[in-house]
Every structure is written in C-alpha cells, then in structure tokens.
Symmetry: C2
Subunit: 112 residues, 2 copies
DNA sequence: ATAAATTGCTACTATATTAGAAGCATTACA
DNA sequence: TGTAATGCTTCTAATATAGTAGCAATTTAT
C-alpha cells in the first residue's frame, strides 16, 4: 500500500499542505511529482511508448512511471495513441508554457 | 539520516536516474523537490521570512523548508536579505519563465 | 534592565514516495 | 508455433517529506 492513488487536487481544495487551493499550487503539486515534467518534455518531441519513456527518463521505475502516466491521463494532459503516449491539446498548451525553461536551463546549468 | 545533502546535479552529471545530465533535466530535478517552485513563487511577490514562507507554503515542515532554502541558495536562486529571503537576479529570471504557468493554471484547474 | 515574544532553525519519529529487481500476460513478428 | 518485445504489476529497500517539539538568538514590550 505504498503508491496508491494520490488524486490531483481540485480547484479550491487544499493541496497537500497548501490550504489555499490556488490554481498555481494545484499545478505545482502535480508537476513536482517525480518525472511529471520529464514525461511532458519527452512527449513534446514525439509520441513514445512506455518503455521508450522509461529510457528517456533515465530508467525511471516502471511503478512510478505508470503511476505518473495514470495521473497525467486522469487530468487530460496526455493520452494513448496507436504509437504510444501523446500530449493532448491541453498537454501541449502546458508544454508551451514550460518550453522557455529549456533555453534558460541551458544558460544557467553551466554556471552552477 | 533522512534528509541529508542531495546536491543539485551539475551540468553533464547524471541526474538521479537521468544519465543524460541535460540542462532541462537538471532543472526539473531541482524544481520538482517539494516546495521549490512554491518558494520561488512566494518570493516573487515580496521578501518573506522563514516563518512567513512556511505559512505561505501551507505549513510546510520546517525541516524540508530549510533543506530547500539551502539548496536554492546553494545554486544562487535566492539569498538572505535584511527582511527575509529574496530572489536573486537569476532567481527572478527563472521566476519570469515560470510566471506564465500562473495564468494557464487559472484557466486549467477549474476544468479538472 | 528584564521578561515575554518571535524568529530561525535543529532533532527526531512517522508516513509517503520513489527506486530497483523480478516477472507475467498480451500482442507482434518470424 | 515459437520468440521476442511491450506494458505493465508486485514486492522490498531506500529516500524524501510530514509533523511535533523545542532551543538559542534577536526583537519587542514593560
């Protein structure tokens, strides 16, 4: 009973520890789960199968990966296609807002 | 011995589980730690003391909050000011790239 | 000056999440 | 009809986070 359902907080509901239920906190709660952003990033390039995603995310545990995929599907950010998982329209919208982090990271990471 | 140093991966170094060491993965590894994004978000409005941040982040555990603050300081995203913690120039740059998520979250969250 | 608050933590235990290895059922291919 | 991928599920160990208590140092009030 270790990695059971941890539903994504709804609007107005307290995020684990965040009583506000502010939208941004709901989103942060989701995105800060392991591999969540990596999955979105990986799928932005092309559709990927479970095992491809696993490799892309550095051998992520299948258990965690699967949990994350279920969550992302349950909130409509990704879905299954014939050739693996794919971003939904909403998922791509989110990715578009995440994308600027890529350029920034390339400048920043070498400095640390 | 539970919440010891978990250094932020350097460029080229494998992120826990991510052999690539791609900049974006290094950043994701940092940002996906509990409260990391919430802290940046909270400090973007104004400087906040330890206890103010704790309240802002929904009564985050002092132990975790402190760990996170150390990490964010060690990579130069935040620093101490006379009236609490503050974003560095670099930290604000990162925040600026995070900010679009706020608007998006306000549209998205009500739909889930 | 002294007492009472407040602040910024540290320490410790309990719980939750993630890692990692193994393996199984199903589909795809040869 | 094998043989090999694929998409998981299950289990245990390791790690991270939550939560409570409390203490030393600084600030505020008397």
């Amino acid at each position: 009973m270790s990695e059971e359902d941890r539903p994504v907080a709804k609007h107005g509901e307290p995020v684990p520890g965040s009583p506000s239920g502010q939208p941004i906190m709901v989103l942060f709660d989701l995105l800060s789960r392991r591999w969540a952003m990596g999955i979105l990033w990986g799928l932005s390039e092309k559709n990927r199968t479970f095992r491809e995603l696993q490799a892309y995310c550095g051998s992520a545990s299948p258990s965690v990966l699967n949990t994350r995929l279920k969550e992302l599907r349950s909130v409509g950010l990704i879905e299954k296609a014939s050739d693996g998982y794919t971003l939904t329209k909403t998922g791509r919208e989110l990715y578009n807002r995440l994308e600027p982090l890529g350029d920034w990271a390339m400048e920043w990471v070498p400095t640390i």
